[in-house]
Symmetry: C2
Subunit: 249 residues, 2 copies
Amino acid sequence: MTRLLRKVERRATLDDAARADLLDLPYKLHRYDRSSYLVREGDQPQRSCLVVSGFTYRQKVTVMGARQILSVYIPGDFIDIEAALLNIADDSIQALTACEIAQFATADVRALMCAHPQIALAFWIDSLIFASIFREWIANIGRRDARTRIAHLLCEFARRLEVAGVAEEYRYELPMTQEQLGDAAGLTPVHVNRVLRELDGEGVINRTKRQIEITDWPGLRLIADFNDTYLHLDQIPREPQHQSSRDAA
Amino acid sequence: MTRLLRKVERRATLDDAARADLLDLPYKLHRYDRSSYLVREGDQPQRSCLVVSGFTYRQKVTVMGARQILSVYIPGDFIDIEAALLNIADDSIQALTACEIAQFATADVRALMCAHPQIALAFWIDSLIFASIFREWIANIGRRDARTRIAHLLCEFARRLEVAGVAEEYRYELPMTQEQLGDAAGLTPVHVNRVLRELDGEGVINRTKRQIEITDWPGLRLIADFNDTYLHLDQIPREPQHQSSRDAA
DNA sequence: CGGCAAATTGAGCATTGTCAATGTCTGTGG
DNA sequence: CCACAGACATTGACAATGCTCAATTTGCCG
């Protein structure tokens, strides 16, 4: 729970009452197995989810049966704050790996946000950043070739995981199969394989099992047409905040 | 200004003080010519924009010079509420047609939202719906073929314009060139032309100048794999709901 | 009527998809 | 410790959707 507090305090300055109410927010910790559903398209969810450990993703399936992954969530991400404000889920959320999820009743979340507008703003900023990432994905899938797309995904994961404190700077565990990578990039698994292999062969990345090591960050960045402005990392140190208690949770 | 009030009242129940403050929100009305910029990527905007008349769109350009349109805004849309909360614009906003735009100082918007959480929630819901549309676009561009993509765009415009009261049910003015449609769908203008022509030839739509008439809505819907859940139109007539009791907090 | 932007069309091509086989790794049960 | 199953990765041959290039037509506006 202190994890949630830390997250919110990064985005806004809280008074004591707000901090107390936030810490009092009731929640349940759930464990999900790999590929189980947290939310199904069409649900009217009564709970909002925060990733404590593990990874999840959001997806949609077309009538033709093709799947598109819309977003990947990492530890610390508030997955579906919109559950508290929209009536119906328009896509599904699934566990990418086994994971622990903290769940909050949407009614409680709404009450908290109405009582403390600063908290609402903090959550809102979070959801705006996700919206920004969605837009970058539209551009990525719509206007970049396969090689660039995959490289871009790899860069995004690297930055996000690093900022979340889940990975070293240029090396991380990527728990996605090539099929899932393809579903995220709008490509077939076969082609993902070709591209990954090519990047590996050129020496910009290095793959061992599910681990990705970026051996030439400037090179990959260039290939990827990657600019991290859209992640709005500048939103993090916005307030005169304490950064010292990095991982005290 | 009453337009803005109406819009907000669709999403939340306001008390008299909130209504008064909202109506007092200072703004300037600007006119923009076709294809002029409202916001440029990299700006640190001090104003948020509401479309009063005309159309605008949001876009990004890749290093290779390809443009991707990320969103189209129609009268009544709050274009960039995120200007009030994020530090830097990660994409540009341009006028699709000559248009009138109401602009609000971000500081005023922030103050209003802090004073009246119900108003913040209303705006937030709006931005969550746009995020939902972004996700649908990711799926559309990532996993549907050209024909389906274009049909989907046409369906989306039809519904949105109708709900905004800007167009009749199955007939509307589409002020986009085929090149712009292509930039929205991740296709080349040449291919957009072929697809449009094909749909026209099959008799599901009818084009005259920039006007689109949908002559076979069920047919187009089917071709488009279109389901309007993601537009969250059910959020509009939500008055006597549990939401209101919460707002009293 | 001339000029321009946009739409249309055709021919050839390439990036990416499809299909199908094979290789590799990991965990499990014997 | 080994054999085996199953999931995933890799590869190759071939096809096709959508792109490029380039010409031409259409429609609008002064």
